[in-house]
Symmetry: C2
Subunit: 327 residues, 2 copies
């Protein structure tokens, strides 16, 4: 099976669709796209590489899901509505069973959010999956990293740390009971992009980012872009919905480290003025998704972790607050 | 040097720019883009992999040029004006000298065509360079592969075959005198995307494609999409500007095979009604770029290579006309 058969069989036919805003899809030199009046296009690219982002024996169906999910998560962070994506697939060989499963996982998520595959490239080489995703957002309404204001509350959706715990468990670096691993590895392998939340936060959040590098790292990006600092209430975080039932079975210092430094959560971190607190309470109920206040944005740059010193030994505390992104 | 320093140093700073149509570039979850009223966005993705598309010891500056050039060539084939691109860079290690040269080659070409770097991803793994490029084209004016009409003339810009000859020379599979290799390897390593031509062909060409796979293969894509056939005047091609001075030093059968099957030319192949012949003559003079008629589009599907049997032995002729893309 050559490149062209491959594209036809696993991608062009399965993903075929007719949409007025996408007059030309897979199969020409370029795809063509129109934008709704008064809207901007939001664009993000993410690459996943075997050995760096996933294990060689990863289930290809979950891999198809995750590759698109991490890109959709970037759209969510901007408050953009998914529209389309391109797929650049570098494969060591053409294995039909693998491709069938990969394309199935990819398609299921794309379908769920109306995100059309409009082009890309397939080539031979070490496994590498690049996606560029496109979303639409009304002009001036995209949420940026740079909008956090002193006094804003900082919020995080869902719970944190399970994905990293699953990863460390699979790598044999942490102990995870088998039954628990089956539950938490879903967070690692099939994350849910918080698109409904992202759209709802337009006009509410002052800044937003998706949590891919871990809470402290990504908070660092927001604070740097906004030229602000933050104070986090760590003990309150440990008693909130941020700490999942599974994670609460761990010693507190381990759970806290996973929550603060674990990556691959794909929850949203955002700031919002206190005047939006009630609206966010209602939104959390509507979406059935916890939105937890973790602290406040401060005028002084730098990061304070209130209460962390009671949960971590001195060495671990020092290592957390000197985390590279704050270096 | 971490990922973030890397992006800052070699990409964000060098490529920084302010443009009204690109309100947000590198450094947030998404880039933001607006479209001129009445325009569509043309999008194309191409990946280049070490060992598949370039030699491990390739000059990184020419590699930077080529990775963007092959993407711009897709915009040219659609008649789209370059606007921006994203870069997904997978690197085995961070080598500053290599990155400096790569980014320099990339920047020079991007600058020449006003194509802004607006985002992407950098990650660790076997060398893999993915670019997604964006261009603008007035609604309904993009040139597609599917528009060729029976009776249209088929044109090719520039000359063909030098890039493949250089590749085979560098691989030791064909003999190329040293002085000649220095000249022709430019065609392989720093191809010129035919953007001026592509823009000028809007309203003139009925179908267009850029020549990356080789003339016969890419002609096959146009004919398949248009549900047409073609008849090529091979002997006339061999006496035209299509055959470069360098290539004419080869035996005729070798030169012809390179012209018809060699890839990486990045010239444009297009069809146009005979009524546009005079306009195309004038255009060729204006652009100082030969535009050679190679044959005609036919209602009958299939391909006729008139005169090729006099230039090739029976085996080579059979191999050419049964070329996979026509299978």
């Amino acid at each position: 099976m050559g490149e062209f058969d491959l594209i036809e069989r696993f991608f062009k036919t399965r993903f075929a669709l007719k949409r007025d805003d996408l007059p030309l899809g897979i199969g020409d030199d370029c795809a063509l796209m129109t934008l709704a009046p008064g809207h901007q296009l939001a664009i993000s690219s993410d690459v996943m590489v075997e050995g760096t982002h996933f294990f060689p024996d990863v289930d290809p169906q979950t891999l198809g899901h995750k590759c698109l999910a991490v890109n959709l998560s970037d759209l969510a962070a901007c408050g953009a509505k998914p529209k389309a994506f391109t797929l650049s697939l570098t494969l060591p060989s053409i294995e039909e069973v693998w491709l069938e499963a990969f394309s199935k996982g990819l398609y299921a998520l794309a379908q769920l959010y109306g995100c059309a595959l409009i082009g890309g490239d397939t080539t031979r080489g070490p496994l590498n999956i690049g996606i560029t995703v496109f979303g639409e957002v009304p002009k001036e309404q995209a949420m940026l990293r740079s909008g956090a204001q002193a006094g804003d509350d900082l919020y995080v959706s869902g719970n944190l740390g399970e994905a990293r715990w699953a990863l460390l468990g699979l790598m044999g670096k942490m102990t995870v009971p088998d039954a628990r691993l089956q539950a938490i590895r879903k967070r690692l392998e099939t994350p849910t992009p918080r698109l409904e939340l992202g759209l709802a936060l337009r006009g509410i959040a002052s800044a937003a980012i998706d949590l891919s590098d871990g809470l402290l790292g990504d908070l660092g990006h927001v604070l740097k872009a906004s030229q602000k600092g933050a104070c986090l209430q760590v003990q309150e975080m440990m008693q909130s919905a941020l700490l999942s039932k599974d994670l609460s079975s761990l010693p507190k210092d381990e759970a806290l480290t996973l929550m603060l430094q674990g990556g691959d959560d794909y929850e949203l971190l955002f700031s919002a003025p206190k005047s939006k607190a009630q609206a966010l309470k209602v939104l959390a109920q509507e979406l059935k998704l916890p939105l937890t206040v973790i602290g406040q944005v401060t005028e002084n740059t730098g990061l304070e972790l209130l209460g962390a010193e009671h949960l971590l030994d001195a060495q671990a505390f020092k290592s957390l607050v000197s985390f590279e992104h704050f270096g």
